[in-house]
Amino acid sequence: MIAQRRVFFPVLLTIVCTLLGCGGDTAPSDDQRAEGGTVVIALAAEPATLLPPLVGSDHEQAIVEVVYDRLADIGPALGTVGDAGFTPRLASAWQWAADSMSIAFTLQPSARWHDGAIVTSADVRRSFALYTDPRAESRNAQLLANIDSVSTPDPQTATFWFKRRSPQQFYDAVHHLFVMPAHLLVNVDLAQLATVPLARSPVGTGRFAFVGWTSGQRIELRSDTSNYRGRAMLDRVYFVPTPDFGAATVKLFTGEADFFTPLNRESLEQALRTPSVRVWSYPALRYLHLAFNLRDPANRARPHPVLGDVAVRRALSMATNRERVVRTVFDSIGSVAIGPAPRALLPDESLLRPIPYDVDGARALLDSAGWVLSPTDSVRSRGGVRLRIEVLVPSVSLNRDRMAVLLQDQLRMVGAEVVLQRLEPNALVKRTSKGEFDSWMGGWNTSPGLVGLRQVWSTRAIGGEGDNTGGYSSSTFDANVDTALTAFDPIVARRAVNRAMQTIIDDAPAIWLVEEVSPSGMSSRIDPGVLPSTGWWHGLPDWRIPPSRRNDRDRAGLGTAN
């Protein structure tokens, strides 16, 4: 049903074509170089900016990560303690100070910016300044909060000075900061950082160099042939913004685009049936949940009349057949979430005990907590208050909508009335941030290092400054998370993580639903290696197209100057 090639109009246009001389691609028909190929990637949205401190979403991150470099890259195990597993990038080596309050990074001597200038430590210092200045509006600023300053003893050395020792200090310094060219960031008005030319014409040190950006149409990258790490395997990559999901999948299946993610269940099935498309999955660091509001929306000082009671929350969790929900909505592209962190980031997830699915147990628990059914009402009540919950659902996500509907059905079985309210994302966020909700169907993207636990679920995060909109507060949880993030002994840290996770699972401030696996569709002629959890784009410079599998697009432009 899907056509693989484009068929041109008959006769008339062929004549026009010949007259206009459009047979002009003088590409050699056999190209046996190991490197080569042109890949077109369909992005879910057009990037707003390509300046690293201002990057806010995956589609921007993808481009920024291949054009710019970090000082060092996290290893595949995603360990964030100390510097174990990290591979050198722009920093060829690093030296810890004896008191661990500073780390001196030695820069690669052969590293050059794409415009030819030499990389110096001044670039690192300037980049740090841009990331952390509040006027620059960088979302990463708070992740670099532990770093006091960056000094430059000589042009090849950048020293990071920390405020406190922490197990993650190396990760902090290295992971959240891309090094930008200082010589292109001179006299920049920080309040108008987004208007700097570098934001639309990035110049980095990565294995891909930026070529051009035609707004609304495409962003072109080419392989940096004189890169200190060696050129990228592909010749050229085009990023084409395609916000329409349906159109993007069409492009993938007709071969107009070589890569697109994420695929949903339907297009996944189609992809599996299409020989020119291969499906690659990578576990995204993301979970979805039905979050409860533990505080009364009318008065945040009081507990929620229904959900403030842990028995109710546990009972609702017990009444939910999460396996079935995930299987119905996500099928093979999701697994049941265990808690507020994806499995890839949990050291001992097999030791954690989730709340079991037990409908009778749920009913019993509700009975014993005083929520009883009356002969006239199928909804339980206690002291005149009905067991009624409003669930806010973002109107843009069909998956969450479907999950919400299934949950509504399941919770009805134990005498809870669930009302669904679909809202546009902005409106939904407004209500949740003000605490004016019972529950909402949402989720979180997480980063390595489990900082998300503190950011979203700690007591400190309640109130205007943080994301703990449900008001969950447990001193046990807080203490264990703090230990987990600050203990240097990995065994102590692991135990603390386990205890924190078990505490929050038992307290049930949310029903933990899904960890999505993000399947992506890729042209089967491409050999990408492995797609890591930190992002499918991570290995883009190493994507290869073997000469035998190259097509016209790969060979296009070989006759023209590079």
Binding site: G246, T249, V396
Partner: protein, 271 residues
């Protein structure tokens, strides 16, 4: 009555009947996402003549119930628009003079603001609009044509003999307008309203397709289309059948409006 009038009229009545009877005609619940047992994205079969959509909902049932929403919204909003437009146009045409000129200028200004852009703004402003909101919105942006036509009619009628006679016998102005003049406006109104229903059905479908109209779980034809295409364009039955429903309804109304216009228009007098 010519067949050109009867056929569309009968079709419209049939359509309305189907819309009203939809809950009883639907083989499956239209808006509930089935928990289990039904395969999603099924091609048309005997049990699912229009197939199922990506969430497993029977498309035929959705289209039938969508008729209620689409037609209902269109009819109500056109009713509102006709009322507002008639009042505005009649008042303006009847009073005449500077007020009339001013009213017409205001109308010109209002007409120059593209309706879709206004609707985009407002629909985004209030996010998920309830049905009443959509009806209000469509009605309050669709009365301009009615106003203009009614005003023209009323102006023409203002100087007719029966009006002058009524005035001479001391009947109050408002009463003349209400009882004697407005009934003459009804034919124009009928034509405009019918064509307006056609236009509104299509417009509301487009809005719902963009996600700014009728919200789930309620479904109008437009939102069924949007559901169907949001997750991949491969399933033709989710696009074709609701679309045919829209086209059918719009076509019937257009045909009826045209026929009415021909039937009610004053005959051209041969020179």
């Amino acid at each position: 009555m010519s067949p050109r009038l009867v056929i569309p009229l009968a079709s419209l009545v049939a359509l309305a009947a189907v819309a009203v009877a939809a809950p009883w005609l639907s083989p499956f619940p239209p808006n509930e996402i089935p928990a289990e047992g039904i395969i999603a994205s099924l091609a048309p079969t005997l049990s699912h003549p229009f197939g199922t959509d990506s969430a497993g909902r029977d498309v035929l049932s959705r289209v039938l119930n969508g008729a209620r929403v689409s037609l209902g919204v269109a009819l109500l909003s056109v009713l509102l628009a006709s009322t507002v437009g008639t009042l505005y146009g009649a008042a303006s045409g009847w009073i005449g003079g500077i007020i009339d000129a001013a009213c017409m200028r205001v109308l010109d200004v209002l007409m120059s603001i593209p309706r879709l852009l206004v609707l985009l703004c407002v629909a985004a402003l209030w996010g998920a609009l309830p049905l009443t909101g959509i009806v209000l919105l469509l009605g309050l942006t669709g009365w301009y044509d009615v106003a203009r036509l009614v005003r023209a009619d009323v102006q023409g009628l203002r100087s007719r003999e029966f009006v002058l006679a009524a005035r001479a016998t001391g009947v109050r102005e408002a009463r003349i307008l209400w009882q004697h003049v407005l009934p003459h406006v009804l034919p124009t109104l009928a034509v405009t309203a019918t064509l307006g229903v056609a236009q509104t059905i299509a417009f509301e479908a487009g809005l719902s397709y963009l996600g700014l109209g009728v919200q789930p779980p309620q479904a109008s034809w437009g939102s069924i289309l949007s559901d169907g295409t949001a997750l991949g364009i491969g399933r033709w039955w989710v696009t074709v059948f609701p679309g045919l429903a829209i086209v059918g309804a719009v076509l019937v109304c257009n045909a009826l409006g045209d026929a009415l216009r021909e039937a009610l228009a004053p005959r051209q007098v041969a020179a």
